[in-house]
């Protein structure tokens, strides 16, 4: 893993998008896994909490739906396996089993879907010390194999529309939850009746 393009981009701390422009990170990530195609999303935020606190929260995958918009739930099997349920349009769900492939306490967690996933995907989250008093740099990298067919269309709707925006929002919600204990929202759903379209 350490020589993968994703890893190199992460270590250089350059925006992954720039790395993508230099080399075809997506293509390399696909080849590495024997996938026909891959999409890569990466993002770093600084969170005003210790590595240990952030790692502990993330390591319990049942917490992830609290800030990941599309993740309905994650059931934890044993210490390494988990089952992910993603809500898709029209009341459908997309599911997969994941296994943890890398686990360094207070530093790194990586996971990858196993055989039979509706969408093949892999994720990696790394926690590094920011300068003293500045908390922790949190870097997330998500790689997935955009599937064909009906499921592919659902996934396209969920992830491919703006995967970078999605990643940015999810890490921001993670930061908000970890720093303030809650995730700010401007208004409740049922207030939306008074709101019309963009003007």
């Amino acid at each position: 893993m350490s020589s993968s393009p994703v890893e190199r981009a992460r270590q250089s701390d350059a925006p992954l998008t720039a790395a993508v422009a230099q080399r075809d990170v997506s293509k390399e990530a696909a080849e590495e896994r024997g996938w026909h195609e891959a999409a890569v999303v990466g993002r770093t935020v600084t969170i005003n909490r210790t590595r240990a606190e952030l790692y502990a929260f993330w390591r319990d995958f049942r917490n992830l739906p609290r800030f990941m918009e599309n993740v309905e739930r994650v059931d934890v099997g044993d210490d390494r396996r988990s089952h992910w349920v993603i809500s898709a349009p029209a009341g459908r769900t997309v599911e997969w089993d994941s296994v943890i492939t890398e686990d360094e306490p207070d530093s790194v967690i990586a996971w990858e879907s196993v055989e039979g996933a509706d969408v093949r995907n892999a994720g990696r989250i790394e926690f590094r010390d920011a300068p003293p008093g500045r908390g922790t740099y949190v870097t997330a990298t998500i790689v997935y194999d955009p599937p064909a067919g009906d499921i592919g269309k659902l996934i396209a709707k969920l992830f491919q529309k703006e995967p970078k925006i999605q990643a940015r929002r999810e890490l921001r919600r993670f930061k908000q939850l970890m720093e303030t204990g809650e995730i700010p929202v401007a208004f409740k759903e049922d207030d939306s009746a008074v709101r019309g379209s963009f003007s």
């Binding site: 921001r172 908000q176 720093e179």
Partner: protein, 213 residues
Amino acid sequence: MRALTWHGKHDVRMETVPDPKIVNPRDAIIRITSTAICGSDLHLYDSYIPSMHRGDILGHEFMGEVVETGSGSNLKKGERVVVPFVIACGQCFFCGKQQFSACDNSNPADKTDLSEIAYGYAMSGLFGYSHMTGGYAGGQAEYVRVPYSDVGPLVIPDGLEDDKVLFLSDILPTGWMAAENCEIEPGDTVAVWGCGPVGLFAVQSAFLLEPTG
């Protein structure tokens, strides 16, 4: 409740809208007793600010009585509070340095895309001031929901009338900061261009900051 809502250029309306509710633990609901119109509200009225939606409730200068609190609020029902227009979490790096207007967390994640792209960094949340700053309902209304209510609101002691403290919500600190930034020294002459309410507060602040040495 009744509230002043935005519908487009030079089109604001007093309408009946749903009452705000507690959403997050640190929220509080305030019954508005006084509110002001800011010069910045004119930018909304004249449609100079992007990301306004039809039906948005205006108003970022307000005060009132606490009528409901979430489990994480430290306010008490019946307390009178002035609410600063900047919403601040109190726990991010910037709030830790008392740079509340740069709060990292108060703008909801799905509202930060525009300022992140336009300015390179997301803005904090503000009351009643477009969706770029959070899309929060403002206080030109009967009630308002105040997020992170344990951070911003100032509790007002009995005996101080609304008119004496309302301007702590925005324009008095704005004028004060203008004067403070001047680092006034003995012998200085201070001139203030534009004596609207903020300018008048800058004049008063300059007198207060006048060195005695």
